[in-house]
Symmetry: C2
Subunit: 202 residues, 2 copies
DNA sequence: AAATGATTTGATTGATCGTTCAATCAAGCC
DNA sequence: GGCTTGATTGAACGATCAATCAAATCATTT
């Protein structure tokens, strides 16, 4: 099997697509970073687009190991887990001087008319992320209002993260990220207080 | 003067960049749509990047006339104006089967290492948009809590719009936009009720 | 060791890209 | 009528791109 060649290509492409985007990354860029030659790449992948698909599959299948587990290590409270995950994105922004944010979001807006397969993979990545948040919200149980639509709020958390990353990157100022996350935190505090009033009615 | 040639190029480039993005739009695309020849384009603009700058300047200078005025025609209530503006983006999504969203947001995430001039123009567009929202929030006066940070909330409205557009486009489902905007609406309702309690203390 | 198929090599292809430029044209001024 | 200036034309250029392919090499089996 050529599993090693494939792995090297996917890992390099992951980095390059996050750094420069899909279109600005040439196949030659991937080759030079991996010491793999073009014939080998095209032996493993039908084309550049299939490398992108493999990258998106890697993100999709690796979310638990590479994103959630590190972000949640030592954190049990489900609400704190949500903000710990957002903190992981903050770290990405901070360590890159606000140039990387969410690689999936960047690709989602860069590719205007993606093949259905690519679009489905982008959606699957968003879906996994949203479901991870929703599991936290479900775990929060009665700390959140009973009538609260957990799925909606999970989608909203993704929305805020992506919008906050976009502004921080554009302004090259992490303050935009922090202020938006603080707004979301305020909203969570309100919801939690509302649920408290539910449990101990006046 | 070559003002007409320039105007034709900028308008065509506006459409094309919104449809296909900056990198996927070739100079030849702009030429064929405008019946302008390459020499003329390069007589008016030093290069493709300067066309992008002109497009971003057009968005920046035209926000009042082309975005705010149409969205706010016949709407006086400042809070309703905010959601009317979001409604304009909904219409863009709906009429394009969720392929166009916010052209500025798309460009902001597509261009990973833009020239400082381009980055400043992207930021200026976000800034104008945020300030328009902030003026609405200021106009709402005592209907919103006195302690509320209007600037932060305005940034948050942009965040939610961009994140909602991203998901609607990725899933090709306007429901994602609607649900996120509904979440924002709920938050506004909460703020307004909080301000009411402020004015009529228990 | 021979055979076979999988994998790698790297030069090469053809298409497309942004850009250039000599030429032509139109309009106003002396 | 010449002269100047600015705009337009469209063929051409070099660079870069994704992709190809025949030959070489490696790994496995017989």
């Amino acid at each position: 099997m050529n599993a090693d060649t494939r792995r090297k290509i996917v890992m390099a492409a992951m980095d390059l697509f996050a750094e420069k985007g899909f279109q600005s990354t040439s196949v030659a860029d991937i080759l030079s970073r991996t010491q793999v030659h073009s014939g080998s790449l095209y032996h493993v992948f039908p084309g550049k687009q299939d490398v992108l698909a493999a990258v998106l599959e890697a993100y999709r299948d690796g979310i638990e190991e590479w994103l959630l587990a590190p972000a949640w290590s030592g954190i049990d409270d489900p609400v704190e887990r949500i903000f710990a995950l957002l903190g992981a994105y903050r770290t990405m922004l901070a360590t890159s001087e606000c140039t990387y944010g969410c690689p999936i979001g960047s690709l989602a807006l860069e590719l205007h008319e993606p093949d259905p397969a690519i679009r489905d993979l982008l959606a699957a990545n968003f879906e996994n992320w949203t479901l991870a948040i929703q599991r936290c919200l479900d775990s929060a149980g009665a700390r959140l209002p009973a009538a609260l639509d957990r799925r909606r709020l999970a989608e909203f958390v993704l929305t805020v993260m992506e919008g906050a990353v976009m502004q921080a990157r554009t302004y090259r100022d992490i303050g935009y990220f922090d202020r938006n996350i603080a707004m979301l935190r305020d909203q969570f505090d309100l919801l939690i207080r509302e649920a408290q009033r539910e449990r101990v009615p006046a």
